[in-house]
Protein backbone atom coordinates (compact mmCIF):
# COMPACT_ATOMS: atom_id res chain seq x y z
CA UNK A 1 0.00 0.00 0.00
CA UNK A 2 2.89 2.36 -0.78
CA UNK A 3 0.50 4.73 -2.52
CA UNK A 4 -1.23 5.44 0.78
CA UNK A 5 1.86 6.15 2.83
CA UNK A 6 1.52 9.82 3.72
CA UNK A 7 4.70 10.10 5.78
CA UNK A 8 7.21 12.79 4.91
CA UNK A 9 10.67 13.06 6.41
CA UNK A 10 11.07 16.74 7.16
CA UNK A 11 9.04 19.81 7.98
CA UNK A 12 10.44 21.34 4.82
CA UNK A 13 8.86 18.52 2.82
CA UNK A 14 5.68 18.80 4.87
CA UNK A 15 5.12 22.35 3.67
CA UNK A 16 6.66 22.12 0.22
CA UNK A 17 4.64 24.22 -2.20
CA UNK A 18 3.49 26.79 0.34
CA UNK A 19 3.81 30.14 -1.36
CA UNK A 20 3.33 33.83 -0.69
CA UNK A 21 -0.29 34.91 -0.77
CA UNK A 22 -1.76 31.53 0.01
CA UNK A 23 -4.55 30.74 2.45
CA UNK A 24 -3.63 28.50 5.37
CA UNK A 25 -6.19 26.92 7.68
CA UNK A 26 -4.85 26.03 11.12
CA UNK A 27 -6.31 23.78 13.79
CA UNK A 28 -6.22 24.54 17.48
CA UNK A 29 -8.15 26.48 20.10
CA UNK A 30 -6.02 29.01 21.92
CA UNK A 31 -2.74 27.16 22.32
CA UNK A 32 -4.44 23.79 22.67
CA UNK A 33 -3.94 21.38 19.79
CA UNK A 34 -2.00 23.76 17.57
CA UNK A 35 0.41 22.50 14.90
CA UNK A 36 3.39 24.07 16.64
CA UNK A 37 6.13 22.82 14.37
CA UNK A 38 4.29 23.48 11.15
CA UNK A 39 3.73 27.06 12.30
CA UNK A 40 7.42 27.33 13.17
CA UNK A 41 8.28 26.03 9.70
CA UNK A 42 6.11 28.73 8.09
CA UNK A 43 8.09 31.27 10.09
CA UNK A 44 11.37 29.70 8.97
CA UNK A 45 10.23 29.73 5.34
CA UNK A 46 9.35 33.43 5.65
CA UNK A 47 6.28 32.94 3.50
CA UNK A 48 4.51 36.30 3.23
CA UNK A 49 1.09 37.80 2.60
CA UNK A 50 -0.68 34.84 4.09
CA UNK A 51 -4.35 34.62 4.87
CA UNK A 52 -4.70 32.60 8.05
CA UNK A 53 -7.93 30.97 9.10
CA UNK A 54 -7.84 29.92 12.74
CA UNK A 55 -10.13 30.42 15.71
CA UNK A 56 -7.41 32.33 17.56
CA UNK A 57 -4.06 33.69 16.57
CA UNK A 58 -1.93 32.11 19.27
CA UNK A 59 -0.46 34.46 21.83
CA UNK A 60 2.20 37.10 21.59
CA UNK A 61 5.30 35.20 20.58
CA UNK A 62 3.89 31.69 20.32
CA UNK A 63 1.78 29.77 17.87
CA UNK A 64 0.37 31.83 15.01
CA UNK A 65 1.26 34.93 17.03
CA UNK A 66 4.83 34.41 15.78
CA UNK A 67 3.69 34.90 12.20
CA UNK A 68 1.92 38.15 13.13
CA UNK A 69 5.07 39.38 14.84
CA UNK A 70 7.07 38.46 11.79
CA UNK A 71 4.64 40.38 9.54
CA UNK A 72 3.87 37.32 7.41
CA UNK A 73 0.11 37.71 7.67
CA UNK A 74 -2.08 40.00 5.57
CA UNK A 75 -5.41 38.71 6.77
CA UNK A 76 -6.83 36.71 9.69
CA UNK A 77 -10.16 34.95 9.79
CA UNK A 78 -10.83 34.28 13.49
CA UNK A 79 -13.50 34.41 16.14
CA UNK A 80 -11.41 35.62 19.02
CA UNK A 81 -8.69 38.18 19.50
CA UNK A 82 -8.78 37.99 23.26
CA UNK A 83 -5.54 38.42 25.05
CA UNK A 84 -3.29 38.62 22.01
CA UNK A 85 -2.15 42.25 22.26
CA UNK A 86 -0.32 42.36 18.94
CA UNK A 87 -3.33 40.90 17.13
CA UNK A 88 -5.61 43.54 18.64
CA UNK A 89 -3.13 46.30 17.88
CA UNK A 90 -2.63 45.29 14.24
CA UNK A 91 -6.41 44.99 13.91
CA UNK A 92 -7.17 48.40 15.41
CA UNK A 93 -4.41 50.08 13.39
CA UNK A 94 -5.72 48.52 10.19
CA UNK A 95 -2.36 46.97 9.42
CA UNK A 96 -3.96 43.55 9.51
CA UNK A 97 -7.20 42.75 7.73
CA UNK A 98 -9.37 40.78 10.13
CA UNK A 99 -12.57 38.97 9.31
CA UNK A 100 -14.11 38.27 12.69
CA UNK A 101 -16.32 35.23 12.33
CA UNK A 102 -18.45 33.63 15.03
CA UNK A 103 -16.82 30.49 16.33
CA UNK A 104 -19.59 28.12 15.33
CA UNK A 105 -19.91 29.70 11.91
CA UNK A 106 -16.15 29.43 11.44
CA UNK A 107 -16.20 25.74 12.32
CA UNK A 108 -19.16 25.11 10.04
CA UNK A 109 -17.61 27.09 7.16
CA UNK A 110 -14.60 24.80 7.17
CA UNK A 111 -16.70 21.68 7.55
CA UNK A 112 -18.78 22.90 4.60
CA UNK A 113 -15.63 23.61 2.59
CA UNK A 114 -14.45 20.09 3.07
CA UNK A 115 -17.88 18.59 2.44
CA UNK A 116 -18.59 20.28 -0.90
CA UNK A 117 -21.27 22.55 0.52
CA UNK A 118 -20.65 26.03 -0.88
CA UNK A 119 -22.93 27.85 1.57
CA UNK A 120 -25.40 27.39 4.38
CA UNK A 121 -27.77 29.43 6.50
CA UNK A 122 -27.38 30.16 10.21
CA UNK A 123 -29.21 32.37 12.68
CA UNK A 124 -25.89 33.31 14.22
CA UNK A 125 -25.11 36.97 13.71
CA UNK A 126 -28.46 38.14 12.34
CA UNK A 127 -28.85 41.82 13.15
CA UNK A 128 -25.18 42.21 14.09
CA UNK A 129 -22.26 43.76 12.21
CA UNK A 130 -21.26 40.40 10.81
CA UNK A 131 -24.52 40.39 8.82
CA UNK A 132 -23.35 43.41 6.82
CA UNK A 133 -23.35 42.60 3.13
CA UNK A 134 -24.74 39.13 3.67
CA UNK A 135 -28.06 37.81 2.47
CA UNK A 136 -30.69 37.37 5.17
CA UNK A 137 -33.46 34.93 4.50
CA UNK A 138 -36.40 33.63 6.45
CA UNK A 139 -37.11 29.97 7.06
CA UNK A 140 -40.09 29.00 9.22
CA UNK A 141 -40.51 32.57 10.34
CA UNK A 142 -36.98 33.18 11.54
CA UNK A 143 -34.17 35.14 9.89
CA UNK A 144 -30.91 33.46 8.90
CA UNK A 145 -27.67 34.61 7.30
CA UNK A 146 -26.12 33.03 4.25
CA UNK A 147 -22.56 32.02 5.07
CA UNK A 148 -20.11 30.70 2.50
CA UNK A 149 -17.69 27.81 2.88
CA UNK A 150 -13.97 28.22 3.52
CA UNK A 151 -11.24 26.15 1.93
CA UNK A 152 -7.50 26.68 2.04
CA UNK A 153 -4.46 26.05 -0.11
CA UNK A 154 -2.94 24.37 2.92
CA UNK A 155 -4.46 22.97 6.06
CA UNK A 156 -2.18 22.44 9.05
CA UNK A 157 -3.37 20.07 11.69
CA UNK A 158 -2.17 18.74 15.04
CA UNK A 159 -3.14 15.15 15.82
CA UNK A 160 -2.27 12.75 18.60
CA UNK A 161 -1.79 9.41 16.91
CA UNK A 162 -1.86 8.50 13.25
CA UNK A 163 -1.06 5.52 11.10
CA UNK A 164 0.94 5.89 7.89
CA UNK A 165 -2.26 6.07 5.83
CA UNK A 166 -3.08 9.31 7.59
CA UNK A 167 -5.87 8.04 9.83
CA UNK A 168 -5.75 10.39 12.80
CA UNK A 169 -7.13 10.55 16.32
CA UNK A 170 -6.98 13.59 18.57
CA UNK A 171 -6.36 13.74 22.28
CA UNK A 172 -8.95 15.23 24.63
CA UNK A 173 -9.97 18.79 23.78
CA UNK A 174 -6.98 19.18 21.47
CA UNK A 175 -9.46 17.92 18.87
CA UNK A 176 -11.34 21.26 18.54
CA UNK A 177 -11.02 22.68 15.01
CA UNK A 178 -8.46 20.14 13.81
CA UNK A 179 -10.77 17.61 12.14
CA UNK A 180 -12.60 20.39 10.27
CA UNK A 181 -9.42 22.05 9.12
CA UNK A 182 -8.19 18.65 7.95
CA UNK A 183 -11.07 18.30 5.50
CA UNK A 184 -10.77 21.72 3.92
CA UNK A 185 -7.20 22.02 2.64
CA UNK A 186 -6.17 21.46 -0.95
CA UNK A 187 -3.10 20.05 0.73
CA UNK A 188 -3.65 18.83 4.28
CA UNK A 189 -0.60 18.36 6.46
CA UNK A 190 -0.91 16.65 9.81
CA UNK A 191 1.70 16.52 12.54
CA UNK A 192 1.23 14.02 15.34
CA UNK A 193 2.84 12.95 18.55
CA UNK A 194 2.92 9.29 17.76
CA UNK A 195 2.94 7.09 14.70
CA UNK A 196 1.19 3.76 15.06
CA UNK A 197 1.07 0.71 12.81
CA UNK A 198 -1.52 0.37 10.09
CA UNK A 199 -4.43 -1.51 11.66
CA UNK A 200 -3.67 -0.38 15.21
CA UNK A 201 -6.43 2.23 15.31
CA UNK A 202 -10.01 1.02 15.65
CA UNK A 203 -11.65 1.89 12.30
CA UNK A 204 -14.84 3.12 13.99
CA UNK A 205 -12.88 5.42 16.27
CA UNK A 206 -10.87 7.40 13.75
CA UNK A 207 -11.51 11.12 13.90
CA UNK A 208 -9.93 12.05 10.58
CA UNK A 209 -9.92 9.34 7.90
CA UNK A 210 -6.75 9.23 5.82
CA UNK A 211 -8.57 10.30 2.65
CA UNK A 212 -8.30 13.89 3.88
CA UNK A 213 -4.60 13.73 4.66
CA UNK A 214 -1.88 14.39 2.12
CA UNK A 215 1.21 14.56 4.29
CA UNK A 216 2.01 13.27 7.74
CA UNK A 217 4.93 13.98 10.06
CA UNK A 218 5.80 13.11 13.63
CA UNK A 219 6.87 15.98 15.87
CA UNK A 220 7.76 16.98 19.42
CA UNK A 221 5.43 19.46 21.10
CA UNK A 222 5.92 22.08 23.77
CA UNK A 223 2.17 22.35 24.53
CA UNK A 224 2.10 25.65 26.37
CA UNK A 225 -0.78 26.29 28.73
CA UNK A 226 -2.55 29.65 28.66
CA UNK A 227 -4.43 29.52 31.95
CA UNK A 228 -3.09 26.97 34.38
CA UNK A 229 -5.99 26.61 36.80
CA UNK A 230 -5.71 24.03 39.57
CA UNK A 231 -7.61 22.96 42.67
CA UNK A 232 -4.74 22.37 45.05
Amino acid sequence: MAGFNKLVNSYEAALAGLEDGMTVLAGGFGLCGIPENLIAEIKRKQTKHLTLVSNNCGVDGFGLGMLLENRQVDKMVSSYVGENALFEQQLLSGELEVELTPQGTLAEKMRAGGAGIPAFYTATGVGTPIADGKETRRFNGRGYLLEEAITGDFAIVKGWKADPYGNVIYRHTAQNFNPLVATAGKITVVEVEELVEVGELDPAQIHTPGIYVDRLIVGMFEKRIENRTVTD
Binding site: V81, P102, Q103, A107, T124, V126, T128, T173, Q175, F177
Partner: protein, 218 residues
Protein backbone atom coordinates in the same frame (compact mmCIF):
# COMPACT_ATOMS: atom_id res chain seq x y z
CA UNK B 1 -26.16 46.32 48.85
CA UNK B 2 -25.15 45.24 45.39
CA UNK B 3 -24.66 41.51 44.93
CA UNK B 4 -21.17 40.12 45.08
CA UNK B 5 -19.97 38.05 42.14
CA UNK B 6 -20.64 34.92 44.14
CA UNK B 7 -24.12 36.05 45.09
CA UNK B 8 -24.83 36.67 41.44
CA UNK B 9 -23.72 33.14 40.69
CA UNK B 10 -25.89 31.84 43.53
CA UNK B 11 -28.93 33.65 42.19
CA UNK B 12 -28.41 32.31 38.68
CA UNK B 13 -27.98 28.80 40.09
CA UNK B 14 -31.58 28.94 41.32
CA UNK B 15 -32.66 28.79 37.68
CA UNK B 16 -30.97 25.43 37.17
CA UNK B 17 -32.98 22.25 36.83
CA UNK B 18 -31.92 18.68 37.33
CA UNK B 19 -30.62 17.25 34.07
CA UNK B 20 -29.86 20.60 32.43
CA UNK B 21 -27.06 20.87 29.91
CA UNK B 22 -25.58 24.29 30.57
CA UNK B 23 -23.05 26.52 28.86
CA UNK B 24 -21.39 29.00 31.20
CA UNK B 25 -19.48 31.95 29.80
CA UNK B 26 -16.26 33.37 31.14
CA UNK B 27 -16.34 35.34 34.44
CA UNK B 28 -19.36 35.33 36.75
CA UNK B 29 -21.17 32.66 34.72
CA UNK B 30 -18.32 30.26 35.42
CA UNK B 31 -18.94 30.65 39.16
CA UNK B 32 -22.47 29.29 38.78
CA UNK B 33 -20.97 25.80 38.68
CA UNK B 34 -20.02 26.22 42.34
CA UNK B 35 -23.63 26.68 43.42
CA UNK B 36 -25.50 23.82 41.82
CA UNK B 37 -28.15 22.91 44.45
CA UNK B 38 -27.67 19.70 46.38
CA UNK B 39 -29.29 16.65 44.83
CA UNK B 40 -29.35 18.31 41.45
CA UNK B 41 -27.07 17.54 38.56
CA UNK B 42 -26.23 19.73 35.60
CA UNK B 43 -23.75 18.95 32.85
CA UNK B 44 -21.49 21.74 31.66
CA UNK B 45 -20.86 22.22 27.97
CA UNK B 46 -17.70 24.03 26.97
CA UNK B 47 -17.87 25.18 23.39
CA UNK B 48 -14.32 24.17 22.50
CA UNK B 49 -15.69 20.63 22.46
CA UNK B 50 -16.39 19.22 25.91
CA UNK B 51 -19.68 18.10 27.41
CA UNK B 52 -19.32 17.20 31.06
CA UNK B 53 -16.66 19.64 32.25
CA UNK B 54 -15.37 18.90 35.72
CA UNK B 55 -13.39 20.80 38.33
CA UNK B 56 -9.93 22.24 37.83
CA UNK B 57 -7.30 19.49 37.96
CA UNK B 58 -4.75 18.98 40.67
CA UNK B 59 -1.34 20.35 39.76
CA UNK B 60 -0.21 16.85 39.00
CA UNK B 61 -3.13 16.15 36.71
CA UNK B 62 -2.83 19.36 34.67
CA UNK B 63 -2.99 18.47 30.99
CA UNK B 64 -2.44 20.99 28.21
CA UNK B 65 -4.83 18.99 26.03
CA UNK B 66 -7.73 19.32 28.46
CA UNK B 67 -9.00 22.88 28.57
CA UNK B 68 -12.30 24.74 28.57
CA UNK B 69 -13.45 27.59 26.36
CA UNK B 70 -11.75 30.03 28.72
CA UNK B 71 -8.47 28.20 27.97
CA UNK B 72 -8.34 27.09 31.61
CA UNK B 73 -7.06 23.65 32.43
CA UNK B 74 -10.01 21.51 33.54
CA UNK B 75 -11.04 17.90 34.00
CA UNK B 76 -13.82 15.87 32.45
CA UNK B 77 -16.38 14.06 34.56
CA UNK B 78 -17.28 10.41 34.15
CA UNK B 79 -19.83 10.26 31.38
CA UNK B 80 -18.41 13.24 29.52
CA UNK B 81 -17.91 13.42 25.78
CA UNK B 82 -15.33 15.28 23.72
CA UNK B 83 -15.82 16.31 20.11
CA UNK B 84 -14.92 18.76 17.38
CA UNK B 85 -15.85 22.44 17.26
CA UNK B 86 -18.33 21.70 14.47
CA UNK B 87 -20.10 19.13 16.63
CA UNK B 88 -19.97 21.45 19.62
CA UNK B 89 -21.71 24.23 17.75
CA UNK B 90 -24.14 21.80 16.17
CA UNK B 91 -25.30 21.22 19.76
CA UNK B 92 -25.41 24.92 20.49
CA UNK B 93 -26.91 26.13 17.21
CA UNK B 94 -29.34 23.23 17.17
CA UNK B 95 -30.83 24.28 20.49
CA UNK B 96 -29.72 21.23 22.46
CA UNK B 97 -28.19 23.20 25.33
CA UNK B 98 -30.81 23.92 28.00
CA UNK B 99 -29.35 27.07 29.49
CA UNK B 100 -26.70 29.58 28.51
CA UNK B 101 -25.30 32.09 30.98
CA UNK B 102 -23.06 34.83 29.68
CA UNK B 103 -21.83 38.32 30.35
CA UNK B 104 -22.51 41.46 28.35
CA UNK B 105 -21.61 45.14 27.99
CA UNK B 106 -25.23 46.18 27.33
CA UNK B 107 -28.70 44.77 26.86
CA UNK B 108 -31.81 46.62 25.73
CA UNK B 109 -35.58 46.46 25.97
CA UNK B 110 -35.78 44.63 22.62
CA UNK B 111 -33.69 41.77 24.00
CA UNK B 112 -30.63 42.83 22.06
CA UNK B 113 -27.22 42.15 23.55
CA UNK B 114 -23.79 43.72 22.94
CA UNK B 115 -20.76 41.96 24.36
CA UNK B 116 -17.91 41.64 21.94
CA UNK B 117 -16.44 44.97 20.92
CA UNK B 118 -16.12 48.65 21.71
CA UNK B 119 -15.33 50.36 18.40
CA UNK B 120 -11.88 51.90 18.31
CA UNK B 121 -11.04 50.70 21.79
CA UNK B 122 -11.49 47.05 22.47
CA UNK B 123 -11.88 44.09 20.20
CA UNK B 124 -12.20 40.85 22.07
CA UNK B 125 -13.99 39.10 19.25
CA UNK B 126 -17.28 37.34 19.59
CA UNK B 127 -15.84 33.86 20.08
CA UNK B 128 -18.79 31.57 20.50
CA UNK B 129 -21.13 34.18 21.99
CA UNK B 130 -23.02 34.98 18.78
CA UNK B 131 -23.72 31.29 18.23
CA UNK B 132 -24.72 30.81 21.84
CA UNK B 133 -27.24 33.64 21.92
CA UNK B 134 -28.66 32.64 18.53
CA UNK B 135 -28.92 28.98 19.43
CA UNK B 136 -30.28 29.01 22.96
CA UNK B 137 -33.90 29.39 23.97
CA UNK B 138 -32.98 30.01 27.55
CA UNK B 139 -30.32 32.62 28.20
CA UNK B 140 -29.39 34.53 31.34
CA UNK B 141 -27.19 37.59 30.98
CA UNK B 142 -25.10 38.52 34.01
CA UNK B 143 -23.50 41.95 34.32
CA UNK B 144 -23.26 44.96 36.53
CA UNK B 145 -26.32 47.16 36.31
CA UNK B 146 -24.30 50.26 35.52
CA UNK B 147 -20.73 51.08 34.55
CA UNK B 148 -18.21 52.41 37.03
CA UNK B 149 -19.19 55.89 35.88
CA UNK B 150 -22.79 55.14 36.76
CA UNK B 151 -24.00 54.77 33.17
CA UNK B 152 -26.80 52.30 32.80
CA UNK B 153 -26.19 49.09 30.85
CA UNK B 154 -29.92 48.38 30.54
CA UNK B 155 -30.85 50.52 27.60
CA UNK B 156 -33.61 51.58 25.28
CA UNK B 157 -31.27 50.62 22.50
CA UNK B 158 -27.81 49.07 22.62
CA UNK B 159 -25.14 51.52 21.54
CA UNK B 160 -22.38 49.00 20.89
CA UNK B 161 -22.25 46.52 18.02
CA UNK B 162 -24.69 43.69 18.74
CA UNK B 163 -23.89 40.11 19.58
CA UNK B 164 -27.47 39.04 19.03
CA UNK B 165 -30.83 40.49 18.20
CA UNK B 166 -33.98 39.99 20.23
CA UNK B 167 -32.66 36.94 22.03
CA UNK B 168 -32.36 37.98 25.68
CA UNK B 169 -35.27 37.52 28.06
CA UNK B 170 -33.54 37.29 31.47
CA UNK B 171 -30.93 39.54 33.03
CA UNK B 172 -29.27 39.32 36.39
CA UNK B 173 -27.36 42.40 37.47
CA UNK B 174 -25.66 43.15 40.74
CA UNK B 175 -28.85 45.05 41.67
CA UNK B 176 -31.74 43.09 40.25
CA UNK B 177 -33.26 40.16 38.47
CA UNK B 178 -35.20 41.33 35.43
CA UNK B 179 -37.06 39.84 32.53
CA UNK B 180 -37.48 41.46 29.13
CA UNK B 181 -41.00 41.36 27.71
CA UNK B 182 -42.79 43.39 25.06
CA UNK B 183 -40.17 46.10 24.83
CA UNK B 184 -39.58 46.64 28.53
CA UNK B 185 -37.51 45.48 31.44
CA UNK B 186 -39.67 44.02 34.18
CA UNK B 187 -38.19 44.17 37.64
CA UNK B 188 -38.67 40.76 39.22
CA UNK B 189 -36.38 40.80 42.26
CA UNK B 190 -34.06 43.29 43.85
CA UNK B 191 -30.79 42.67 45.62
CA UNK B 192 -30.91 42.72 49.42
CA UNK B 193 -31.11 46.32 50.62
CA UNK B 194 -31.23 47.80 47.14
CA UNK B 195 -34.18 50.08 46.66
CA UNK B 196 -36.51 50.11 43.70
CA UNK B 197 -35.63 53.78 43.26
CA UNK B 198 -31.93 53.01 42.86
CA UNK B 199 -32.70 50.39 40.25
CA UNK B 200 -35.05 52.80 38.50
CA UNK B 201 -32.38 55.49 38.48
CA UNK B 202 -29.81 53.14 37.00
CA UNK B 203 -32.06 51.67 34.31
CA UNK B 204 -32.12 53.76 31.16
CA UNK B 205 -34.52 51.53 29.20
CA UNK B 206 -38.23 51.42 29.95
CA UNK B 207 -38.67 49.69 33.31
CA UNK B 208 -41.91 48.17 34.54
CA UNK B 209 -42.17 47.79 38.29
CA UNK B 210 -44.78 45.27 39.40
CA UNK B 211 -46.64 45.90 42.64
CA UNK B 212 -44.69 43.21 44.40
CA UNK B 213 -40.90 43.13 43.92
CA UNK B 214 -39.41 40.60 46.27
CA UNK B 215 -36.01 41.02 47.81
CA UNK B 216 -33.50 38.28 47.17
CA UNK B 217 -32.33 36.27 50.14
CA UNK B 218 -29.09 34.31 50.42
Amino acid sequence: MALSRDQMAMRVARELQDGYYVNLGIGIPTLVANYVPDGMAVMLQSENGLLGMGAFPTTQAVDADMINAGKQTVTAIDGSSIFSSAESFAMIRGGHVDLTVLGAFEVDVQGNIASWMIPGKLVKGMGGAMDLVAGANNIIVTMTHASKNGESKLLTQCQLPLTGQGCIKQVLTDLAWLTIEDGAFILRERAPGVSVDEIKAKTQGHLIIPEQVSEMTF
